[in-house]
Assembly symmetry: none
């Protein structure tokens, strides 16, 4: 069985949308169906106006119409969306931080507001993940941003943080945190969790890590 879409795609692949001579036998071999089926299906594609067809004794001159091209382009857009736009996983490599995460997560002010917003008291430290910069925005785009307010401790003010709930390695719940006014390199994200992720997952620098959105928790 060969669907009309697959036949159209095969023709497009070979002809690159240019007018081109085919034989029904040639296409039947490529798609593993009978010559008769190709003959019939080509007439169906013509009926649908996906191709223009000029049947000769020596073969059939075929050109994909604008309409046929649109059909293919629609599927392309769908697949493009699936495979490039919507990144429901973020892959990265463990990287060493400068100890800043440890300092900030140790502050009562952040601990309390994270507990309130995310439901856990963060381990005093962050896991730094080096990722492809271009992937971060599309990954975060589809997620719910949780705003963790800043605070004043009597001496200085600490800025707000945006958090995104994630599941780390399909095991441990946590969050990506992005300070509102970040001074970080953009290809590094910081991850927090209730637990010490380096220990729990036995991670060392340059290890691969996968995180996924987790809106349930």
């Amino acid at each position: 069985m060969v669907s009309e879409f697959e036949l159209l795609l095969k023709i497009a692949d070979i002809s690159k949308f240019k007018r081109m001579k085919f034989t029904t036998i040639q296409l039947s071999n490529l798609l593993d169906v009978s010559q008769q089926t190709i003959s019939r299906k080509l007439r169906l594609l013509e009926d649908k106006k996906w191709i223009s067809r000029d049947s000769k004794f020596e073969g059939i001159h075929i050109q994909i119409t604008q309409e046929g091209k649109t059909i293919l382009h629609e599927k392309f857009n769908l697949l493009k969306e699936l495979f490039t736009k919507l990144r429901y996983e973020l892959h990265g490599k463990i990287s060493s931080g400068l100890g800043e995460g440890k300092y900030y997560m140790g502050l009562k002010g952040y601990q309390e507001s994270i507990q309130k917003a995310l439901g856990f008291v963060p381990y005093e430290g962050t896991l730094n993940l080096k990722v492809d910069e271009s992937l971060i925005s599309s990954f975060l785009f589809h997620m719910t941003k949780i705003e963790i307010p800043g605070f004043f401790d009597g001496e200085r003010t600490y800025g707000g943080i945006n958090a995104y709930k994630i599941m780390i390695e399909n095991k441990i719940f946590g969050a990506i945190i992005i300070p509102e006014r970040t001074h970080h390199r953009k290809n590094i994200i910081e991850i927090i969790s209730e637990k010490n992720l380096r220990n729990e997952l036995a991670l060392k620098d340059d290890d691969e890590l996968v995180v996924k959105p987790d809106e349930k928790n």
Copy 2:
């Protein structure tokens, strides 16, 4: 009739490759076939190992397998190849200009700087090509911009021109020229060549024309 590929694509589109609950009726409405057909096709997809399927009383939990994802990705690669390679050709229709090209290409100043930059003295006239506006930028993006300086003829200044080397109809070398400060409609590009293209290629208005980048010349 709904092909297995289309069903898989629909599931991917909705679930984004996550495990998700579907009902056969829901999918039958979306794809305009019977509930029974969806039920059967889902079992076929499972047989092919494109999905994993957990049939319950309240619905079917479906997840696309790695194999299913690969099937979709193969089609995606094919389509990507088709629709991105196309950028390396620009199709358009011959259109009548206002004679401005003829005037400018007749000027010694431009003739000399074009000779220097592109290696030929342009025929006194331009060929106007009407193209899909959205295609121009991606076509030009991959090409080398050649800057043709403006000049002062003692009376007025003539602005600079950006040029892109092309091969016209696989036969004649030429260039797309875009004035730095253009007043042209954006869906029309101007083409120059050493020869009179209308005569050489026996062109009349609304004839189709194909140009390709030509960085060699």
